[in-house]
Amino acid sequence: MSDAVIKIDNLVKYFDGRCVLNGINLKVPKGCIYGLLGRNGIGKTTIIRILQGLEQPTRGDTYLLGKRSEQLTAKDRGRIGYVAEGHHLIQNYRVARLVELCKSLSLKWNQDFFDEIIQMFRLPMHQKVKQLSTGMRAQLNLALGMAIEPEVLILDDPTLGLDTVARRQFLELAIDVIQRDGRTILFSSHILSDVERIADRIGILAAGELVVDCELEELKKRVKKLRIIFPEKSPEDLHLTEIIRQQRSQREIVITVANFNQQKQAVINTFGPQSCTEIPMSLEDLFIECTRTGEKNVSTH
């Protein structure tokens, strides 16, 4: 196997006859921070659950640390940190008991680091997990996931349900932790600013497919949104490939194109446009363009 720490091969998953994931291929190299984006319920958690071996795929294979997910041993699992969506943990345990359990079930445990986080967030060790706020549970979950000094850290929508302050605190801690070591991180979220702050490579899931899988800066370069104004009526077809989205009015076409290059510009020029201007796009704009429902998505790999 290559140096990909996380690898997904043609992953297909059906739930009650509904295709949720349709042939996902993904590789996350060592040391990469990969942001997996997608709207709620699009299948981000399903991918993570299949990777962790908590769910069976309908078809395809997933690999973590070079091993098939369903064949991960206890030792392999000890090298993987996981912060689950919702931070359920074990609700009826006291924090201290949960920490003791995690400690006894881990291969490595960095007590100094753990104490540092506990003090930083003033997590009450004597309280039951269910009595903690969502933000505190998120912090505890991250602390537990990081104290084992994992080689791979999987964060499944970790900031879901957190208020702005708690989200900021969580992310600052996460960034601090990430920057300490060159560990591989898979970070799923639907909050784009979070991913933009952390990730150096992103994937966008839409309609069961990974429509984008590239570096963040590359994505911004590759996908262009253009406003083309024609002197008379706009043409019916621009004969461009990889159109993500197209809006047409009498003389104007607003088009979002993947993998925009000189050739595509030349094709547009053959229609003699009066003007062709680029509309700047934020990650949020890119995400919306790529995940709009009911429209054909084009891969940007």
Partner: protein, 214 residues
């Protein structure tokens, strides 16, 4: 593995306290009844209280075993404990094995002191407790197997996230298994049936636990 077993015991400490109480009560009563029996009357046979104790044991202990298995698995499923544990440095196999070992420990906590006490009584008071060793062995093997079968069936019932059906199932299984003993008695046949049932239930819960999404 030890951490998982410890966790199971701590989570189900109430059941272990019940097991200890049963063990103490059902060990003390026969010892007391045999000792007082010898003092009052000439040694002529097994005191009636001994029969009563065994029937009580066969009635209640399997029922509690079923409830233990069902509670253990139901709590696990409803609180998503295995989902959390499975993401740590362990495997599904270990998680389920820890559960089953805890179940076996529970059965041993109840049966071993009682079996030991009865074996001692048999040696010390052979005339009052004239039952031969083989009958005692058969009796405790049957009790162990019925408890094991009930526990494994309880695990299966607890897998069902519907609390009502879990309780209903627990109540229904024990009388059905008891009727096997009533019809067949304490023999090899009963032991074989109970053993098969225990193995089948264990294999079924094993298959479910290994393949179902957590």
């Amino acid at each position: 593995m030890l951490a998982l077993i410890k966790r199971e015991i701590e989570d189900n400490i109430l059941f272990f306290i019940i097991a200890a109480i049963i063990a103490i009560v059902f060990t003390v009563i026969p010892i007391y009844s045999v000792m007082t029996y010898e003092m009052e009357k000439p040694p002529i046979g097994i005191p009636m209280s001994m029969y009563g104790i065994f029937w009580l044991l066969f009635l209640f202990v399997p029922l509690i075993c079923t409830a233990f298995g069902a509670t253990q698995m139901y709590a696990d499923r409803s609180k998503k404990i295995s989902t959390f544990l499975a993401t740590m440095a362990t495997t599904r196999k270990r998680i389920l094995t820890a559960k089953i070992i805890t179940g076996l420990l529970w059965i041993c906590v109840v049966i071993v002191p009682l079996a030991a006490a009865d074996a001692i009584l048999l040696r010390v008071y052979p005339l009052i407790v004239p039952a031969d060793t083989s009958l005692l062995v058969k009796l405790f093997i049957t009790l162990f197997l019925i408890c094991l079968a009930c526990y494994c069936l309880g695990l299966q019932m607890g897998w069902n996230t519907n609390k009502f059906f879990s309780i209903l199932g627990s109540l229904a299984v024990t009388p059905i298994l008891m009727s096997i003993i009533i019809v067949k008695g304490f023999g090899i046949e009963t032991a074989a049936i109970l053993l098969l049932l225990a193995i089948a239930s264990t294999l079924r819960i094993w298959q479910k636990f290994m393949t179902t999404p957590l």
